[in-house]
């Protein structure tokens, strides 16, 4: 018998001992970052970058497969006891020797996770991780001339690239409200001093918003440059339009942090994605009834919100709790009680 087969036999035997739990349920108590465990990370340090931004140093578990500069990771953080998932760009280079990675987070007003990470989280905290992903990366063959067009926290994936890959001719146009709001300002100016980067730093409080149409005044050869842009939706929309108008759309790469905005209204179109049915629902009818009327096989129980026999994943959109009026928005792992939830705008129920 091979050693792998022997190991799998031994593991099976262990499962017989730990049933109905799994051996990993016990191992997780002492070694959450071990090989074979669900991917997690331990926060080792939090470094302040600006008044409302911080870099989080994470030691990923043994299952971490590495990242390419510019990619992002999804992290699951328990905020007030509730697990919330968010995506953040990796800001450390891919060749960092101590195996740690960093993300850099800017606290946004009312942002539960960002404020928690910037102001509250303590080193030692274990968080959930996903493998890195995203297409916002440099190609294998280095482009001759590059432009990085960023604003605010949109600098984070680009910082990952700058730290990772040295380019012969790189220009960055970055805008932030004020000088003290520029994340990584010292790092950027170090790169400039080493002549590794040409930087155009704009402060919107004094210079006004960056007008993409006048980009040629700042970077005359912008059209010859392969461009990576990341920032608020307004900037990215304007950039896409500008590049398209000059028939250069294939030279522009963008990264959006917020792809869709949930509109929580009264009622909406309900999709039961597994069954492939779509129906209109008002804001007062429980989704359980809506599904049943549409002929969808819905699990059900007490029909009054106490037994949790009806819980179902909410894949997209928003629902309103008929008892409290509270809105729940779709996120991975969010389950809703269909018997006391109604559509609050278009939504997608996994049934």
């Amino acid at each position: 018998m091979t050693s792998a087969a022997l190991r799998s036999r031994a593991w099976k035997l262990l499962e017989l001992v730990t049933t109905p739990l799994l051996p990993s349920d016990y191992l997780d108590l002492v070694s959450p970052l071990r090989a074979g465990a669900d991917l997690r990370g331990r926060i080792e340090a939090v470094h302040k970058e600006t008044a409302d931004a911080a870099t989080i140093v994470i030691r990923p578990g043994r299952g971490w497969r590495g990242h390419t500069a510019g990619q992002y990771i999804r992290i699951g953080v328990d905020v007030d006891g509730v697990r919330l998932w968010r995506a953040y760009s990796v800001t450390s280079p891919s060749n960092r020797t101590d195996g740690r990675i960093t993300i850099t987070v800017k606290a946004i007003p009312d942002g539960k996770v960002s404020n928690h990470l910037v102001r509250k989280v303590k080193p030692g905290t274990v968080i959930q991780l996903d493998q890195a992903c995203g297409e916002f990366v440099l190609p294998k063959t280095k482009p001759a001339k590059v432009l990085y067009l960023t604003a605010g926290s949109g600098i984070t994936p680009v910082m990952g690239m700058l730290r990772d890959t040295e380019l012969a001719d790189a220009v960055m146009v970055h805008s932030a409200p004020r000088q003290e709001d520029v994340i990584f300002r010292n790092d950027l100016h170090d790169l400039v001093a080493d002549e590794k980067l040409r930087l155009v730093e704009l402060h919107t409080d004094t210079h006004g918003m960056l007008d993409v149409a006048r980009l040629h005044e700042l970077v005359p050869d912008w059209a010859e440059r392969e461009t990576w842009a990341c920032g608020p939706t307004g900037l990215l929309d304007a950039a896409e339009q500008h590049w398209a108008e000059h028939d250069l759309a294939d030279r522009l790469h963008t990264e959006r942090f917020r792809p869709s905005v949930v509109v929580a209204g009264d009622g909406g179109e309900v999709t039961f994605s597994t069954t492939g049915k779509t129906v209109d629902a008002d804001g007062a009818t429980p989704l359980l009834d809506v599904g049943e009327e549409a002929g969808v096989l819905m699990p059900s129980g007490c029909r009054m919100g106490i037994c949790f026999g009806c819980v179902t994943p909410l894949r997209a959109g928003a629902v309103r709790d008929l008892r409290t009026g509270e809105i729940t928005e779709a996120e991975p792992g969010v389950l809703i009680q269909t018997c006391v939830s109604a559509a609050a705008g278009p939504c997608d129920i996994e049934r």
Binding site: V82, M304, C307, F308, G309, V311, L335
Partner: protein, 372 residues
């Protein structure tokens, strides 16, 4: 259904007001769930798992009497914690709000021969929705006992103290049987129902896994301590069964707890449903440790009012709920564990004998129904 309806003095309006006050209590806790609560359940789970592992480790040497004693006691406590404070409450969805897939009612499986899926149906849906309604709530006497003076006496009931004791010893199997609704489904025609057969197979698989773990693998791993470990795991399961059976008897059987007729819940309002839960449950008084070991079912009244509230919050809710009982002049049935266990057993013995049919005073809301 007792001779005197203890809620007769309440008007329909008062009952709805009571319902609103209870809703407010619930909302207050729900909106304040947070990090402390999450830390609590994770701590209990961690302690339970470490205690179970350590106890099973000690039992590998159970041939030595001190090791047997320590290991058996530890494993008994671990099994009780697993079923009561953790399993029962997780399966109620009390911790679903944390959105942790590892501590969630839809993914949890427990150290019990009844599969979580089946237990959730018979317990969360049937028992909690139809609490103490004769003919609808199988928890009432588990279909083998007479629990109210109004129920027809049958000579079979003479043996009910014995049935109850046997059920207590093998409680988890009793629960599996009634989650399967064995009594009803063993009829020839129903036995072949494919849905029933699938559920029976699931129970079979669960029993096989549990028996293999406790009575084969663990004793085998103990080598020369095979027999003593076997005795230890059997004892731990017995202790857990007797304990959970006692706790659950205290929840709905003691004197003073009301049962209800099927027709009395027709068209029941939210307020009336709350009132039925208040009158159909009983608490156990005791220390904090006592509450944890009963899975906080010592706060059975509060648990029945708000089954999805995190268990560690029942104690603070109990103070407010009790004040409402006083305000509405209702009897809050509670007592020490020995007192309540005695009271429940006393009822089991008393009702094993026939009695004169009591003069039933129809409860207020029945009168309305009759009039309508």
């Amino acid at each position: 259904m007792s001779a005197i309806d203890p809620t007769a003095h309440l008007t329909a309006e008062q009952i709805e007001e009571l319902g609103r006050e209870l809703d407010a209590i619930r909302d207050e806790v729900m909106s304040s769930r947070g990090e402390k609560d999450a830390a609590y359940i994770r701590k209990v789970i961690s302690v339970q798992r470490k205690l179970e592992l350590a106890s099973r480790g000690v039992l590998l040497f159970s041939i030595f009497p001190p090791a047997w004693l320590v290991g058996t006691a530890g494993l008994s406590v671990a099994k009780i914690l697993e079923n009561m404070e953790i399993g029962h409450n997780v399966l109620h969805g009390q911790w679903d709000w944390m959105r942790d897939p590892k501590i969630h009612s839809t993914t949890w499986e427990w150290d019990h021969v009844s599969p979580a899926e089946q237990w959730k149906h018979s317990h969360n849906e049937l028992h909690h929705t139809y609490t103490n309604v004769i003919g609808k709530d199988n928890d009432l006497g588990y279909g083998i006992m007479r629990v109210d003076e109004d129920q027809k006496w049958h000579p079979m009931h003479l043996g009910q103290p014995l049935w109850n004791f046997i059920n207590a010893c093998f409680f988890e199997y009793g629960i599996a049987a009634y989650d399967l609704e064995l009594g009803k489904n063993l009829h020839k025609r129903r036995r072949k129902n494919p849905e029933f057969r699938a559920r029976a197979r699931a129970v079979g698989r669960k029993i096989r896994g549990q028996v293999l773990k406790d009575y084969v693998i663990h004793p085998l791993l103990s080598g020369p301590s095979f027999l003593t470990t076997l005795a230890a795991t059997f004892t731990a399961n017995l202790v857990r069964n007797l304990w959970s059976h006692s706790v659950i008897m205290c929840g709905h059987f003691p004197e003073g707890v009301q049962v209800f007729e099927r027709r009395s819940i027709k068209g029941e309002t939210r307020g009336q449903w709350y009132l039925r839960q208040m009158m159909g449950s009983a608490n156990i008084s005791g220390s904090k440790l006592m509450h944890i070991m009963t899975g906080n079912l010592s706060h059975q009244i509060e648990h029945h009012l708000f089954p999805d509230l995190p268990s560690n919050r029942y104690a603070e809710v109990a103070v407010k709920v009790r004040a409402l009982f006083e305000k509405y002049e209702l009897e809050y049935v509670t007592g020490s564990m020995p007192k309540q266990v005695f009271s429940a057993w006393h009822k089991v013995f008393r009702l094993s004998l026939p009695n004169k049919k009591p003069k039933t005073k129809t409860p207020a809301r029945d009168k309305e129904l009759v009039a309508a």
